[in-house]
């Protein structure tokens, strides 16, 4: 089974056995667990999140929210909690987030086309 980071607590409790993590490099949250890429070269898959707004939302509002979210990502308590769960914070501008979305859309687009995956 492939799970998201919510599996980490069960791994630590011994209820699940980890075989691999899906990140490109080993995770500080589970340092002894190999990456899938160590068995399947080039493999990387990670879930990420961010915040979006409807098109034409006022720039000042977007900037304000961006600033406050970045303040949260810089907060030592929040950072430590996220690191413990295997998350890496992604501070940056709205444009940085746009680049992440563009890159990931291309990456998964290639996978979907190559594997001919259809929605069910």
């Amino acid at each position: 089974m492939f799970s998201d980071s919510t599996a980490i607590e069960h791994v630590r409790a011994g209820k699940l056995r980890p075989l691999a993590v899906t990140s490109a490099t080993r995770s500080e949250a589970l340092p002894d667990v190999p990456t899938v890429g160590e068995f399947v070269p080039g493999y990387e898959a990670g879930a990420w999140i961010g915040v979006g707004a409807p098109r034409n939302t006022l720039g000042d509002v977007v900037e304000r929210l961006n600033k406050e979210i970045n303040a949260g990502l810089a907060d030592p308590k929040m950072k430590a909690r996220l690191a413990d769960l295997g998350y890496t914070v992604l501070p940056g501008s709205p444009a940085d987030f746009g680049k992440l979305i563009a890159d990931e859309t291309e990456k998964w687009g290639n996978v979907i086309r190559a594997a001919n995956i259809k929605p069910e």
Partner: protein, 205 residues
């Protein structure tokens, strides 16, 4: 009624300035009421966790409730469309996930263009996926898992068809593309939530 010149000028200046003042004032007072943060995945999911974490942070920082609303369905597309159709006033936000990047290619007919219709506000974090098995399962490494799964027939198609998200399915699919194991193990990733419990309960073997 005759207005003194100074008062007249103040009034007209005030009237002319009104749209600008209210626009700036509006942005400065944002948010003046609760903000909805729409999530396309259920309570207990990773996306929901992230939404609640950042929602609570923003509530504390901005002095208004950021209310997480779970709108499930179509791999997150129901939630995305709800935000696309919402007024662009900052009071309806979307918890964007990797599923949005996947859906752009996966679904041919969407009623929106994600990149065009949703403005990027900020990324939050990237998480890891974990490939896990029940501790009673024989495989202890990825190699052993593949050796076990390879000759097994498909056993759980009906369950796995109910998978709620495109994301994890494709994560697995990109794995399978390299290693053509049968999809019996897909059932383990099938139910929407809480995913970990399915493997804990050992329902799929």
């Amino acid at each position: 009624m005759k207005l003194p010149r100074r008062q007249f000028l103040q009034l007209t200046a005030g009237a002319a300035a009104l749209p600008v003042v209210s626009r700036i004032g509006w942005a400065q007072t944002y948010p003046s009421r609760p903000v909805r943060l729409i999530v396309g995945f259920p309570a207990g999911s990773g996306a929901d966790f992230g939404a609640r974490l950042i929602g609570q942070w923003l509530s504390e920082r901005l002095g208004q409730q950021f209310i997480v609303e779970n709108r499930l369905g179509a791999g997150g597309n129901i939630a995305t469309e709800a935000v696309v159709r919402a007024p662009p006033d900052g009071y309806t936000l979307l918890l964007v996930t990797v599923s949005n990047a996947i859906s752009t290619t996966l679904y041919e007919k969407l009623n929106f263009d994600f990149i065009r219709d949703i403005m990027q506000v900020a990324a939050i974090y990237r998480g890891i996926g974990v490939m896990v098995v029940n501790p009673s399962f024989s495989a202890k490494t990825v190699t052993e898992f593949i050796a076990y799964a390879m000759p097994r027939p498909i056993r759980a198609k009906s369950t796995w068809r109910r998978a709620a998200t495109g994301g994890r399915r494709i994560s697995m699919a990109s794995f399978l593309r390299r290693w053509p194991v049968s999809t019996w193990c897909m059932c383990l990733i099938a139910a929407a939530h809480p995913r970990s419990q399915i493997c804990l309960a050992d329902r799929c073997r």
